[in-house]
């Protein structure tokens, strides 16, 4: 069981979902992700590799080490929890897309060569786009097409980079890149999936349009596979420190302006991935292990928060804070479970984020990147402000509306179970950090619960709470959207129509009209030559001569035309020779 690709079970599961009846498909999804988890945790040994040759290329479709195993394991865990969360779903396409998307993500993290990586990278992109398109919202298909457009461009850049790299080095093995144009192309492609500004806007555009359960898979796979490849291929590329800190702040700044709770969380994915990208740029052992631990925890707590907002969407039929509020008495359990995720992402002691985020900020400080560390602290404040205070306050409390929000549906039991599973893991990681570090095969010695760090973190959180209390009116959501860098391609249809489509249409319609006129005139000339000639813009003399010619008997006219044709041919042949 240990020797085949971990992605294989999910590919098989996806294929079976396409043919099996609805009543077994949810269980099949849970089973496929569950078996994959079993394979990764129990049967797949560290340092396992599978090397082969294909068309003369040396390939390594399977490479297992601590880094790939950590990412693969958390993908399988969230796959199980997301499948349980979506047990009520009967949409075959959505279920298959989730499995193929998961297989793509697992294929990428266990790929030892760039060719295998590219193949699974594209599988993941297609699966994700299909998953978004099945969101069931009016804008889902358009968002999926925009997602596909961005990721096809990113995929093309990746293929170009890989081919260039192969031409330069003669190797397709995936390892650390030491610079050069090919590496930069590959980095750009990875940056697209990591949602590094300015190629980030697809994330906040697409994820909120997915279904309640579809968004859980999306939030886990695409950006975290990008984090994995950055950690493996671009560690110590210092430019990533700048990109990472910009990401961390960018997400929290945009989150202030957001009204949609799912878009707010999408911006916080960008922010949290910023911590991991910064760590990749730092590149020390502590930073890499911190980023790996943070990615693991992030998949769980972000998945939990997206599950909870999905439950709100299912029950209330909206995700806009201006239309929500006062839900706490009627959705106590969802609120409680959401807050476990919110405390985790905010790095509250005893929750998952505290034991992982502190590794990243600690590494930034100990490796001499004080400014980056300070900016990450600012981002942490923003994270608690939005996900721990603003979102829950305006969703579950803070309502002065005359009529309470109408709940249109009951939250399915599977959603509660999925959320409870993720919440239990977030708390377990927070309470037992050493067990978590051992499970992750981290080699450094970390102690997140030292007195200084714990008290300082609590100080930050409490006084962020005070700041929120003082500025709650300024944070009140408004029914608006903020322009991001996706504006050009979201609105590209109109200029494309004016600049390209309409001129082309004019050319073709002119040609069409000319053709119609010629046909009409020829028809008229056959029945009434004189009338036809009258309509031509000819001089009187020419018109009279033509009328005389056309008035001759048809045979004479035909012979005349024949002779004229032969004459022209002879002239052409003579001139040609």
């Amino acid at each position: 069981m240990s020797s085949f690709l971990p992605a294989f079970i999910l590919v098989l599961g996806g294929a079976l979902v396409l043919v099996l009846p609805a009543r077994v498909r949810p269980a099949l999804m849970v089973g496929a992700f569950g078996l994959t988890l079993l394979q990764l945790v129990v049967f797949l040994d560290l340092d396992t590799t599978w090397e082969t040759q294909w068309l003369g290329f040396d390939l390594m479709p399977l490479r297992v080490d601590a880094l790939s195993l950590a990412f693969g394991t958390v993908f399988a865990i969230i796959g199980v929890l997301g499948s349980i969360h979506g047990l009520h779903i009967r949409d075959r396409g959505q279920q298959a897309a989730a499995l193929f998307c998961g297989s793509g993500a697992l294929g990428v993290v266990f790929a030892g060569d760039l060719l295998t990586l590219v193949v699974f990278w594209e599988v993941m992109a297609l699966g994700s786009a299909f998953l978004i398109s099945k969101g069931g919202r009016s804008a889902s298909m358009a968002a999926a097409m925009r997602y596909l457009f961005v990721h096809i461009v990113g995929g093309a850049v990746l293929i170009a980079g890989v081919l260039w790299h192969f031409a330069d080095t003669g190797s397709l093995m995936f390892g650390w890149f030491d610079g050069g144009a090919a590496a930069w192309l590959i980095l750009i492609a990875f940056a697209v999936n990591a949602a590094i500004p300015p190629v980030h806007a697809w994330l906040a555009d697409a994820y909120p349009e997915a279904s309640a359960s579809g968004a859980v898979f999306l939030s886990a796979f695409t950006t975290k596979t990008a984090v994995y490849v950055l950690l493996r291929g671009f560690a110590e590329w210092e430019i990533l420190i700048i990109f990472g800190t910009v990401m961390a702040l960018y997400g929290v700044i945009y989150a202030v302006l957001e009204n949609d709770i799912r878009r707010l969380l999408a911006y916080h994915i960008i922010s949290q991935v910023g911590f991991m990208v910064t760590a990749a740029g730092i590149g020390s052992q502590g930073a890499i292990e911190g980023a790996t631990a943070h990615a693991f925890a992030h998949v769980l707590y972000k998945g939990l928060m997206i599950m909870a907002t999905g439950a709100v969407m299912t029950a209330a039929g909206t995700t806009k804070m201006t239309e929500l509020g006062g839900l706490a008495p009627r959705m106590k359990m969802v609120f409680t479970l959401y807050m476990v995720g919110a405390f985790s992402i905010s790095a509250v002691p005893l929750f998952a984020g505290f034991v992982s985020k502190s590794l990243v900020t600690g590494a930034a400080y100990y490796d001499g990147y004080d400014i980056a560390a300070l900016l990450l602290y600012v981002a942490s404040v923003g994270t608690f402000l939005h996900t721990g205070l603003k979102l829950p306050y305006f969703t579950w409390f803070g309502s002065k509306r005359a009529t309470p929000v109408t709940l249109i549906a009951k939250v399915p039991t599977g959603m509660y179970v999925g959320m409870a599973g993720a919440a239990a893991l977030c708390i377990a990681i927070g309470i037992f950090p050493q067990t978590f570090y051992d499970f992750m095969n981290l080699t450094g010695h970390y102690n997140p619960y030292n007195l200084n760090d714990t008290i300082h973190t609590v100080e930050l959180l409490v006084f962020t709470g005070l700041g929120f209390w003082l500025m709650v009116a300024a944070l009140k959501p408004k029914p608006t959207v903020s322009l991001d860098v996706d504006w050009p391609y979201r609105h590209a249809a109109k200029p494309a129509r004016v600049l390209v489509q309409e001129p082309l249409e004019r050319i073709f319609s002119t040609a069409e009209r000319a053709k119609d006129a010629v046909v009409a005139w020829t028809t008229l000339a056959a029945s009434s030559p004189e009338t036809a000639l009258q309509r031509l813009p000819l001089g009187d003399g020419v018109r009279k001569a033509a009328i005389v010619t056309l008035s001759r008997p048809p045979l004479a006219a035909a012979i005349g035309a024949l002779l004229l044709t032969f004459g022209v041919l002879i002239v052409v042949v003579v001139l040609g020779s």
């Binding site: 009016s138 804008a139 358009a142 929290v252 700044i253 945009y254 202030v256 302006l257 009204n259 806009k320 900020t361 600690g362 400080y365 004080d370 560390a373 300070l374 602290y377 600012v378 404040v381 923003g382 402000l385 409390f397 030292n450 007195l451 200084n452 760090d453 008290i455 300082h456 973190t457 609590v458 100080e459 930050l460 959180l461 409490v462 006084f463 962020t464 709470g465 005070l466 700041g467 929120f468 209390w469 500025m471 300024a474 944070l475 029914p479 608006t480 959207v481 903020s482 322009l483 979201r490 609105h491 249809a493 109109k494 129509r497």
Partner: protein
Amino acid sequence: MRLTRNLAAALTLAIIATLAADAGLAFTDKVKAHFPYSDIIGFYIAFGLVSTFAIVYGSKWLGTILERTDEDDDDEEQADE
């Protein structure tokens, strides 16, 4: 209203406890601090408050620069297209 009072009370207690803990840190053997200036009493308190104000007002200011359209504009435009 009762909830608001409870939350306000909890926040007040948390602030008092945090201030006490921060003052108490001055009398303990410290693990190496993350930043040289973090030894200053109340540094993280000020940092949390100032960061919150900076994020909120900075974002609001950016929001006035970034042209913000009504939420339904995008949907209508896409429907037209």
